[in-house]
Subunit: 319 residues, 2 copies
């Protein structure tokens, strides 16, 4: 029996009650809203302003061989960023320290990449007024990751300088560690196009600024320099200053031109994700003789040795 | 019996299998990975680069009285942004149109705010290389929202001009509709501090740029002007140009100084979230006589009348 055409209505798909997640996640433990969860459960609403408006701040501290490295400095920066964004954390510093510790301990990782995030959150009415949003704190611990892999750490990274300009401080305060990375991502693709492994982008004056998740240093005639303007005040960057003070090397924060970085004796980058990492090639030319330099090696060694020094690190689980 | 101290070990909290969500969400329907879901289920991993690096683009189209308004223009911009970010959508344009339609139809909303999002996604290994990430498409329909509420639409908004500089095009291409809003959020808080209801921020030359989610127009001696540099090419902004052409008003894109906007005969803002919305007060002074002007009213009327014109709108469910 033929069905009359008038009875054929558009058929709508069904709305499922639950999302069926097919993605894979790194092994780790997250904290959200009082719960500790596997990474596969650590999700935020697509309506969270932290996602829709990148209205969030975060910090990443690493754990090496069971010890946090310079956790206090990361917490200082994180709390500073939260305050500048006029957000309120639902927990105090002591509680957040214990949450981070628990994430790492529960993950079982001896070396971990530990994130703490504060997002604007959202309001139940989806109000556009950020004052009405309920701010949220999220933390997680996943396996330690590095900007440079083992081979790159040994031979030095190949970096390209992109024309992309780092978002200037008059737009977004770089002291607030933020997720505004489209400039850095553009820089990365520019670098890949030119056969390099990662990128440096420039400041509004055309000087070298920073790369995706790292600061940069040059060594010239035994002295170190790192850009001063419009860059994240990195904790590993700060650590290089502290190490230099300890071993009597001069280190200053000041502009670095393209010509200066290319003419340096040594170049390295710094990040919580990997520490101090040598750069031996910029654009199409080797830095100096193309080998990892002695100052870089000395600082790398010293940096890793500090990881079991109680003045620089704290055990994940106190005895 | 006393327990010997040596038997007291640090007790770790348990890791729950599932997240127990206590937040409330607006009523709506989302699409993710082939499923239609209630808004409470529309979540992305905290490891998605769309969140951690704001490495995403989106577009918002609205539905009014059962009809999409200028959907084609929104899809054009969205596909353009995805391409510029070197992402790949898992669906073609026709499929995305049907997904958006289904979200609205399933939501039951006659007037809706409809989002389409493409995020970089992430890789299972949490690799830092964006080329290894699996890009994701997400869409949702929630109730229609407006920058200005009913009262503000009648009397005009009170806006403050913030010193914050809109992220410049050399950093992030404004033609890619993006989630980098910390400059706009800073502007909003500056405006709230000064008793205003929303904000305008400036471009790198100190001229008026745009506000949180909207473009701005001035009317002077019967002619319209809107900033040309470093602003989102808004679809409602474009619509104002089209409406002006239709009724023979002159409209141009060119710099607007602070003095010029304050000395305008009329000022209005444009956004998919609310359409054409009058501004009657900037900082501490009224615009002209402080009343909504006649050009603004005429354009508002025409804008809403276009919403059931088949040349400008399409029915959510085709007959």
């Amino acid at each position: 029996m033929a069905i009359p055409m008038t009875q054929i209505l558009p058929v709508l798909p069904t709305v499922d009650e639950h999302y069926c997640d097919q993605w894979r996640y790194p092994d780790g433990v997250a904290f959200m809203d009082g719960q500790y969860l596997p990474m596969s459960e650590a999700k935020i609403s697509v309506l969270d302003w932290g996602f829709l408006h990148s209205d969030a701040t975060y910090d990443t501290v690493h754990v090496w061989n069971g010890r946090f490295f310079r956790l206090d400095l990361h917490l200082d920066r994180f709390f500073g960023g939260v305050e500048r964004l006029r957000m309120k954390l639902p927990y105090d510093r002591e509680k957040i320290e214990s949450i981070l510790t628990n994430c790492v301990a529960l993950s079982g990782h001896r070396s971990a990449y530990v994130d703490m995030i504060c997002t604007r959150g959202s309001s139940p009415t989806f109000s556009r007024d950020p004052r009405q949003a309920e701010n949220r704190f999220i933390a997680f611990a996943v396996p330690f990751g590095s900007v440079a892999n083992k081979e790159q750490l040994e031979r030095g990274l190949h970096v390209a300088i992109s024309e992309t300009v780092r978002i200037p401080p008059k737009s977004v305060d770089p002291a607030i560690k933020n997720c505004h990375w489209l400039d850095l991502v553009k820089g990365l693709f520019d670098a890949y196009d030119r056969g390099a492994e990662t990128a440096l982008i420039v400041d509004t004056n055309g000087h070298i600024a920073e790369g995706p998740g790292f600061n940069v240093f040059v060594v010239k005639d035994g002295s170190l320099r790192t850009p001063a303007f419009g860059v994240l005040p990195g904790i590993t960057r700060r650590t290089v200053f502290d190490l230099c003070a300890e071993i009597g090397l001069s280190a200053t924060a000041a502009d670095i031109s393209r010509a200066e970085i290319k003419g340096a004796d040594e170049v390295f980058i710094t990040s919580t994700a990997g520490g101090i990492m040598p750069v031996t090639r910029i654009d199409d030319a080797a830095i100096s003789n193309g080998q990892v330099g002695s100052v870089t090696r000395r600082l790398m060694d010293l940096y890793w040795r500090k990881h079991d020094d109680p003045a620089w690190s704290t055990a994940v689980i106190c005895p």
